[in-house]
């Protein structure tokens, strides 16, 4: 039950939505609602105005465009998990989307909503970071493209400005012999990521690792790139000892969260283990 009253707007274009947001100091965008509505039911969010962007059909699309895969903000986790376009080129994203919550939540929750809400335990920020995606937003001052690394701040905060709306996420299609994977340790009850690791690797024809990108979610106050691990991997042949050595650096320099389910030291262990597991699978695919 939501006890607090609010005004509701359901614009059919992005411009209308941006304008609508301007009508209240305390407006929130409603996409799938699977982050916002639970908070409203608990009384932990009480927006005065909800701008439902669910009627802007164009935001649901998943398409290939100029060497990138463009995922509309309203693409549901389920449509991402099921998309063959994404499954082939952005396996880690498809796997992360498939690992969100449960079937019903995936049917309704959207990638744009998840990224904008910036729950530190959300899944999709990890591949968004690993693939160096760009988040396209539209606001009162027009359009801007925010690189994933600049988009995520800490806990529930992003680079989104006032009245800006996430409209699409552009994932550059990995070039060359690339493979990716998502490995997750879910919270046993809520299903949120205690730790989620998205790894992308590309190999040269001689088998050495050309490029490595590792996005980690759940473990810290915000999602992060495991840069020390990435550096350790590039130039190696990706054998077990190289992967192990890289994974051991995955939590380097990052303060781990602690809660009832996992202490910071356990989280660190999970980051290392899941980095290794994601890398192994990603490499297998890259060599595929």
């Amino acid at each position: 039950m939501i006890t607090h009253p609010f005004t509701y707007a359901a614009p059919t274009t992005i411009d209308e939505a941006v304008k609508a947001l301007g009508r209240s100091r305390d407006a929130k965008v409603l996409a799938g609602g699977h982050s916002l509505i639970p908070l409203m039911k608990l009384g932990l969010a009480e927006p005065e105005l909800l701008v439902d962007i669910g009627r802007i059909a164009s935001l649901r699309e998943i398409k290939s465009e100029d060497g990138a895969i463009v995922v509309g903000a309203l693409a549901t986790h389920r449509s991402i998990a099921d998309s063959s376009t994404i499954g082939k080129a952005l396996t880690a994203l498809a796997e992360a989307a498939a690992a969100v919550g449960d079937l019903q939540v995936r049917s309704r929750g959207t990638i744009g909503g998840s990224l904008a809400h910036a729950d530190p335990a959300a899944d999709e920020p990890a591949p968004t970071l690993a693939f160096d995606a760009t988040i396209r937003v539209i606001g009162p001052k027009g359009r801007r493209d925010i690189p994933a690394r600049e988009f995520f701040k800490e806990t529930f905060e992003t680079a989104l400005g006032p009245n800006e709306i996430v409209v699409e996420i552009r994932f550059p299609a990995p070039a060359g012999h690339a493979g990716s994977a998502y490995a997750k340790f879910p919270h046993p009850a809520s299903g949120f990521a205690i730790v989620g690791v998205a790894a992308l690797v590309a190999v040269k024809s001689d088998g050495t690792i050309d490029r490595a990108a590792i996005g980690v979610t759940g473990a810290a106050a915000g999602p992060f790139r495991a840069t020390a691990a990435e550096r350790a991997l590039v130039g190696t042949r990706g054998d077990a000892s190289a992967i192990g050595a890289a994974a051991a650096k995955a939590a380097e320099g990052v303060t781990m969260l602690a809660d009832l389910t996992a202490s910071s030291e356990f989280r660190k262990q999970l980051v290392m283990v899941h980095t290794r597991r994601a890398l192994e699978r990603a490499l297998e695919r890259a060599r595929g």
């Binding site: 039950m1 006890t3 607090h4 009384g43 340790f185 919270h187 046993p188 009850a189 809520s190 009832l260 389910t261 996992a262 202490s263 356990f266 262990q269 999970l270 283990v273």
Partner: protein, 785 residues
């Protein structure tokens, strides 16, 4: 009517009569009841675990649109105190009012009730009730609550000690003097939250001097009794209906504050009133289960013969004593600790303590899972200590089949049992012999594999009124049944039991069908309405419904059959000894072609123009059945697990169980009870725990944090059974509602410890979460370095 021979229906996998309405969504649960002019209640609950209530300001809430009234403890004193049905010697009882007025004793204690035209208005206004609290020191841990200087919850008692309950037998000092091996274990049987899927709900209306209450309860008759006594209404003017009830597991085995309060409000406001808890309230204000710590010591010979068991227990009862709370760590726990074993000396002492936490009462198994966990973990520790196979150790100490009836060292008498065959079958199903090969194969994959077993005996069929009374239970443990055969031959069975998923409508019909000689299709079983059922029903809990209520149905059906035979003999001009009732027909043995239909007999009973001399007209029977003893189901469960040492994650690979609940009325329902029970026990072993912080805040206060097992968390179950009839009742039935929960927890924990024992790990406290297991593995690794 279909044809059948006697005892056709008992033992059949009859599809459930309950299902058609439930799969269509037309079953009516309490929250589905909506009445004209109804108002809704939202309760204001204390956020503090312990606080003096200095002032309650409801002025703003009263002014909110739609608000009818706001009621506080002073206004609601007419509800009287909440009942406690069990008294143990020397017990310090607590005064428990539906609304606390001077002091809140746990986070969730209700302070005020807001009544409004809509649920939303009530909830909104509840947030506007301002309460001035003076926070008081908090105690959460039961052991600490008993230490000097601990904050006292009930000042009039001057102590947090609820009771000290000893159960002793044999010479325990001699046992330990003679011991060649001893083991000690400290066990934390963590607090659990029942999580029946249907939240509690109460609807009440008061019309023309008559109170009708719909409640999500396991014990409608007790609710009726207490409402009538507490609210000063004649019992015939109080009707309690338990409609569809969405699971209980003991959590609806109470007369709750809200039932008294909502009924009181309906009576005073003259409008129908509804209250439904949300899940958060369910976590705070519906009873919790377990929560006891035990120190167990076992004395044994090196050949495995057990000489004695000593156990000291501290049980956390929470902030107030609930209805059955005093009986759970005592009667249902202490007496059953010896389990399946012949133990010559026993020394148990249980202390209960008040703490600033949600009250604790019966949760599936109630006392018996704790007892079984203690003895079954101790058996594995002993096996490890003396280097004996855990299965062989159990077998060696089993009460032998020729020893029954067997009086345990704790003083209860098992009427029948044969524990060896159930163990053998369970081990065979689990391929116990082939396990070491699987352990080695897993090791090659980097996994630790383990196998664990648990052999249990439980006490159920909670009944014999005299025994109950001697133990301090304040009410008889019989059960009632009434069978009404209509003139046309339609049969209605009214039972005093109150099922909430156990399928009594089906099983009772099977029992009555066999006894009367008609088809279950022609029998309707009705329950959960105090205006329909016999004068008093006791309810559904403690795996008692079949062994007590089912027998009451059987006995009532026998009376019907006898009268049918008398009338049949009269009409067929035969001797009653020669008349049989089968397949809905009444005929002289060997002459089925000259049969009277069952409906002709029932019609004759009501026409009454041609009945045997002196026979009363009508065809109806009421029985109250009070059995001579409890029943004692038993069995062995075997779990096989794999542990991922990198993450501490446990996977249950295989689960095999062989149970003996005596005669099975409907094996499909028996298996369903086991599946659910085993899963709840796995939940305790691996996943579930209620966590309080030092301030008495329930940190695991929602399904986001508290892990109720999902389909992906549990394996499929392989089940088998043996049948050892009980002599306690004419059908030889025992009960199966709790066996799975009792048996599975120690089996799973034993399997995990077995997996980790090569690392030197001897024990991990439940639940065996990934982090705890990982930390244990890591520490073991460091210790060995």
């Amino acid at each position: 009517m279909t044809t059948a021979t006697p005892s056709t229906y008992i033992g059949a996998r009859t599809p459930r009569k309950e299902d058609p309405r439930l799969i269509r969504g037309s079953g009516v649960f309490t929250d589905d009841v909506t009445l004209p002019g109804m108002v809704y209640v939202s309760l204001v609950r204390s956020p503090h675990a312990h606080a003096r209530i200095r002032r309650i300001d409801a002025a703003a809430a009263r002014k909110e649109p739609g608000v009818v009234t706001v009621v506080t403890g002073k206004d609601a004193e007419a509800t009287g105190v909440l009942p406690v049905f069990i008294t143990v010697p020397g017990m310090n009882g607590s005064k428990h009012m539906p609304l606390a007025s001077d002091r809140a004793r746990y986070a969730g204690d209700a302070i005020a009730a807001v009544v409004a035209d809509t649920h939303k208005a009530a909830k909104r206004a509840a947030d506007m009730v301002t309460i001035d609290y003076e926070p008081l020191p908090v105690v959460v841990d039961a052991t600490k609550a008993l230490e000097p200087g601990a904050p006292i919850l009930h000042e009039e008692l001057g102590t947090n000690l609820v009771f000290t309950y000893p159960v002793k037998g044999g010479d325990i000092d001699k046992a330990f003097r003679d011991a060649e091996a001893t083991v000690k274990l400290h066990i934390v049987n963590q607090r659990l939250i029942p999580n029946a899927m249907e939240p509690r709900s109460v609807v009440a209306k008061f019309e023309a001097g008559e109170l009708t209450v719909w409640s999500s309860t396991q014990i409608p008759h007790f609710v009726q009794l207490i409402l009538s006594v507490n609210l000063g209404l004649s019992q015939n003017k109080v009707r309690v209906i338990a409609p569809e009830v969405g699971g209980g597991f003991g959590s609806k085995l109470q007369v709750y504050a809200e039932e008294l309060l909502i009924a009181h409000l309906a009576k005073t406001l003259g409008r129908p009133v509804k209250w439904t808890e949300d899940r958060r309230e369910a976590y705070l204000a519906t009873i919790h289960g377990r929560d006891l710590v035990e120190d167990v010591e076992v004395a044994a010979k090196r050949d495995g013969t057990i000489l004695g068991v000593r156990i000291r227990t501290v049980a956390n009862v929470g902030a107030y004593l609930q209805a059955f709370a005093p009986g759970i760590p005592t009667i249902l726990h202490a007496f059953i600790i010896p389990g399946a074993y012949r133990i010559p000396a026993f020394d148990c002492e249980v202390r209960g303590a008040y703490t600033n936490t949600t009250p604790v009462d019966a949760y599936r198994g109630a006392g018996r899972p704790e007892a079984t966990f203690a003895i079954e973990r101790a058996m594995d520790r002993l096996a490890d200590e003396i280097g004996m196979d855990p299965a062989e150790l159990r077998r060696k100490n089993f009460v032998p089949p020729d020893a029954f009836p067997f009086t345990t060292i704790s003083g209860i008498t098992y009427d029948s049992g044969d524990y060896g065959p159930a163990l053998d079958r369970a081990l065979a199903m689990a391929d116990y012999k082939g396990f070491e090969k699987r352990r080695a194969e897993a090791k090659a994959r980097g996994k630790h594999r383990g196998i664990g077993l648990s052999s249990y005996v439980e006490i159920c069929g909670l009944a014999p009124s005299k025994a109950n009374s001697a133990l301090g239970v304040g009410w008889g443990g019989y059960e009632s049944a009434r069978i009404r055969v209509h003139p046309t031959g339609a049969v209605q069975v009214f039972t005093g039991t109150s099922p909430h998923g156990q399928g009594h409508e089906t099983s009772w019909a099977q029992i009555a069908a066999d006894a009367i000689g008609v088809s279950p299709d022609d029998i309707e079983v009705r329950h959960g309405d105090t205006f329909e059922s016999p004068g008093m029903g006791v309810g559904t809990f403690g795996s008692r419904s079949l062994a007590v209520g089912g027998i009451a149905v059987h006995n009532a059906a026998q009376k019907i059959r006898e009268k049918v035979i008398q009338i049949g003999a009269h009409l067929l001009e035969a001797s009653p000894a020669d008349v049989v009732v089968e397949g809905g027909k009444v005929f002289v043995k060997g002459v089925p072609e000259k049969a009277k239909a069952f409906g002709e007999i029932s019609m004759a009973a009501y026409l009454a123009s041609n009945l045997p001399d002196g026979m009363e007209p009508g065809l109806e029977a009421t029985t109250y059945y009070d059995p001579p003893n409890f029943t004692f189901p038993f069995g062995t469960h075997v779990a096989e697990v794999e542990v991922d040492p990198e993450t501490g994650t446990i996977e249950i690979i295989r689960y095999s169980a062989c149970d003996d609940c005596g005669r099975q009325i409907n094996p499909m329902i028996v298996e369903g009870q086991l599946h659910g029970g085993i899963t709840q026990g796995i939940g305790q072993a691996l996943y579930e725990t209620a966590v309080y912080d030092a301030n008495g805040q329930l940190l695991s206060g929602s399904m986001m944090e508290y892990h109720v097992p999902t389909a992906a968390d549990v394996p499929p179950f392989a089940l088998d059974h043996t049948v050892t009839l009980t002599k306690t009742n004419p059908l030889g039935v025992k009960g199966i509602g709790e066996a799975g929960t009792i048996a599975s927890t120690p089996a799973v924990v034993n399997a995990v410890i077995d997996a980790l024992s090569p690392l030197g790990i001897k024990h991990i406290d439940m639940p065996l979460t990934a982090e705890k297991v990982w930390q244990a593995i890591r520490k073991a690794g460091e210790a060995r370095r």
